[in-house]
Amino acid sequence: MPTNPTSPDASAHSSLSLSVEQRLGNFQLQASLTLPASGVTGIFGISGSGKTSLLRIIAGLDTPDVGKLQLGDQVLLDTQQRQNVPAHQRRIGVVFQEARLFPHYRVRGNLTYGMPKRATHRFDEIIELLGIGHLLERIPGTLSGGEARRVAIGRALLSDPQLLLMDEPLSGLDGPRKQELLRFIARLTRQVQIPVIYVSHDPEEISAIADHLVLMKEGRVIASDPLHDLLQRFDLTEELGGFDAASIIEGRVVEHDDVYQLTHLALNKCHQLIIPGISAPVGSRLRVRIFARDIALALSPTKDTSYRNQLAATIKKMETLPTSPHSVELLLSLGSIHFRSRLTRKSSDEMKLAVGKQVTALVRSVSILHY
């Protein structure tokens, strides 16, 4: 292992800044970014938007035509100064789309392949965390898709990286396995103190996991902001999934209703959501996603509907997008919490909705992202 000038502690608090340009045939990647030093940064965009190209440059697997890349005070790449730290000296772990396990090593050999001495004490902890202890003597070819991904994640973590890149680590997994692993990665990224960059084209994955979001389109970065802020931007509705535009809300489990099998989730002091019962203990934090199309509005609280989640909210913003002239996008506020709603323009006009008006938000459905 090459010795590294920065200690792991110092580098754990270093942000990544990059500015790169690369031409690949007809495709031009042009990105400038500064990413936070901690938490999960999601890079989101449709396939072909340049996410993976960007990731490969960060990992050192590709060199851009022009560019600079800096992690904390370490310059990893500077094409002008002809500086380029090779991939194996960057200490940037990568979990690839396919697990890419080495077929001629057992699981144990794969896990320890990149493990420096200073990380050996973490071996037991990480295999425990990943639940792969029983797989250690297996040959990669005999693992299921989900198992192989977990081993790949463990292998990257054990290489003691100062930054972890994940490139669509759930692609090709079926529904339940995907959910399981997603939940798992979400928990993991909160437990390990390594900044993570997570690339995906799936809004659900991104909103479950990211704290910060980078939106890419046609090789360019069109937005880079904290997830909550970015999801509220009407001008990005199309890029964020159009019809599937949604809000992410964090809550705390306050009560389980055993009779109806429901869980009460506190959003803040005076607002609660009732969701299908989950096993998370009282007090645990939860992230939920609510589609804009799943929030209806009433002018006052009403007992005449089946909606049991009724939240008193204020309209913060209203806008009709040129791409869907029949509807109105609304941003509602519950004190410090904001979420989106979408109505037809007709009902909005008939209800005389306007910015500042008090309304009751009727929440039709909530999806639980992770706990």
Binding site: A87, H88, I92, R100, F102, R106, T112
Partner: protein
Amino acid sequence: MTLSPAEWEAIRLSLLIGLAAVAWILPPGIAVAWWLARHHFRGKALVNGLIHLPLVLPPVVVGYLLLISLGRQGVFGQWLYSNLGVSLPFTWQGAAVASGVMAFPLLVRALRLSLEAVDPKLEAAASTLGASRWRVFTTITLPLAIPGLLTGTVLAFARALSEFGATITFASNIPGETRTLPLALYTLIQTPGQEAAAARLCFLAIIIALLSLIASEWLARRTQQRLQERDAY
């Protein structure tokens, strides 16, 4: 069947020269195969053609070319002799050089195919885990290409054992020095009344070839198993 001292000598020389030939072509063979498998450059077809020339050229031509380059009067031969005191023609080392050159393309060919089949994505993964290019090559690329390496080595060994034309041209047919099995057989055929001895050598040649094939088969299977049982470090 007991073997005469001359027969033993021929077998010993054949094995010695065959092994020496394989030993000296392995390092450059691996390097060249890797280079061809992983790099694209101008004139690759030409380089590839040059490497394969011994396969298609008459062996005598190769022997002759060796003689004029490595012979005592040759460009490199002169340098070797005056600086290192090494003279290759008419020695068993010279025979090993000649049969090695003839076997080189077979080694490179088999190994290159195997190296090309190794997924570069695995190599990239290894480098993100902190492995230097050398470590990637020795722990990922080469181990995964072992089947090709073994096939290539066995083919090259068999070719070196049976090499005749280049050897007799460059190293001559000297009993106890360069008279390998094929050369001994040739000598016997040229001698009236030695038909029975020739038949014996012919039989021996078949036995040795068969044994080396079986050995390689066994080795390949064993390495495959070992490879799968191996852990890092």
